[in-house]
């Protein structure tokens, strides 16, 4: 009995942390002043948020009694592979369209 409550606390903590990180990513998306800065929120915070959530769900289903259930790990692996790729493509599109940047940005994106 004591064992199951311990796992329940762990799962609860993981999904809470995951949701808070996803929320922070979305806040960053809304709040930061230019596109290139907004790109940081979703690629990092949201990806880690979903990762923590998936691990919490994985622990929950693995300890329910019908054996180990690892397949939700695939979502995390997939997101960790695709998030940088889509961020890179969106950054290239934004540079191609020459979106404006905040004034204090140092350095210039090059034109090819």
């Amino acid at each position: 009995m004591n064992d199951t409550t311990w796992i329940e606390w762990l799962v609860a903590a993981l999904i809470l942390i995951g949701s808070v990180f996803a929320l922070i990513g979305s806040i960053g998306l809304l709040k930061l002043p230019d596109f290139f800065m907004r790109l940081h929120g979703p690629t990092k915070a949201t990806t880690l948020g979903v990762g923590a959530l998936v691990i919490g769900s994985l622990i929950h289903f693995s300890t329910k009694g019908d054996g180990l259930s690892m397949h939700e790990l695939l979502i995390t692996i997939f997101l960790f592979i695709t998030a940088p790729t889509s961020a890179n493509l969106m950054a290239q599109a934004a540079m191609h369209l020459q979106l404006k940047r905040v004034k204090q940005t140092k350095g210039e994106p090059w034109q090819q």
Binding site: G41, T43, K44, S69, T105
Partner: protein
């Protein structure tokens, strides 16, 4: 007797495919294992023409250690980025940094770019046509040279060790 390279062109890709197959099926029976092994053997064989210069893995142990560092860094970097996002956005110092690449293998470069995107407050935005420079956008860069050095010794050097011969 076929050469091992022709029989099993990408052993690591095959292993990865087998693991993914097992994860999808969520079952460890003999049937799924055999089906997975056949799939993991056939897919790299059929997609071989799309991989013109496959990376060679020299030191799997270093790669394993590298993965562990990156996973830890992702967690710490995310806490930092979360603080930056929740703090006032006026004090942020965003910057574009040109990062000189030493890696030459395409796959190794894409691994480095993904790592840079996932870790400390930076997103890799573009690569120059001659594949020698990576354009990185940082959310809060105090010193560009320090960022470059940090990435170089933390991520690029292990990757160079893993994917490229150090005989030169």
């Amino acid at each position: 007797m076929m050469r091992p390279r022709a029989f099993l062109p990408h052993p690591w890709l095959s292993l990865f495919l087998l693991i993914v197959w097992q994860l999808i099926m969520n079952d460890l029976g003999a049937g799924t294992l055999i089906m997975g092994a056949v799939t993991a053997w056939l897919i790299p064989l059929m997609t071989n023409p799309f991989w013109p210069n496959p990376p060679t893995l020299h030191k799997p142990l270093v790669l394993f250690r590298f993965t562990c560092t990156v996973l830890l860094d992702i967690v710490t970097a995310n806490i930092e980025v979360a603080k930056l996002i929740l703090g006032p956005s006026r004090v942020l110092r965003p910057a574009f940094v040109e990062y000189p690449l030493e890696l030459t293998n395409d796959f190794a470069i894409s691994v480095l770019a993904s790592t840079v995107s996932l870790t400390p407050g930076t997103v890799s935005s573009d690569i120059s046509d001659d594949r020698k420079t990576l354009l990185i956008h940082g959310l809060d860069v105090a010193d560009a040279q320090e960022l470059i050095d940090n990435i170089k010794q933390r991520y690029e050097n292990p990757l160079k060790e893993v994917f490229e011969c150090s005989t030169t």
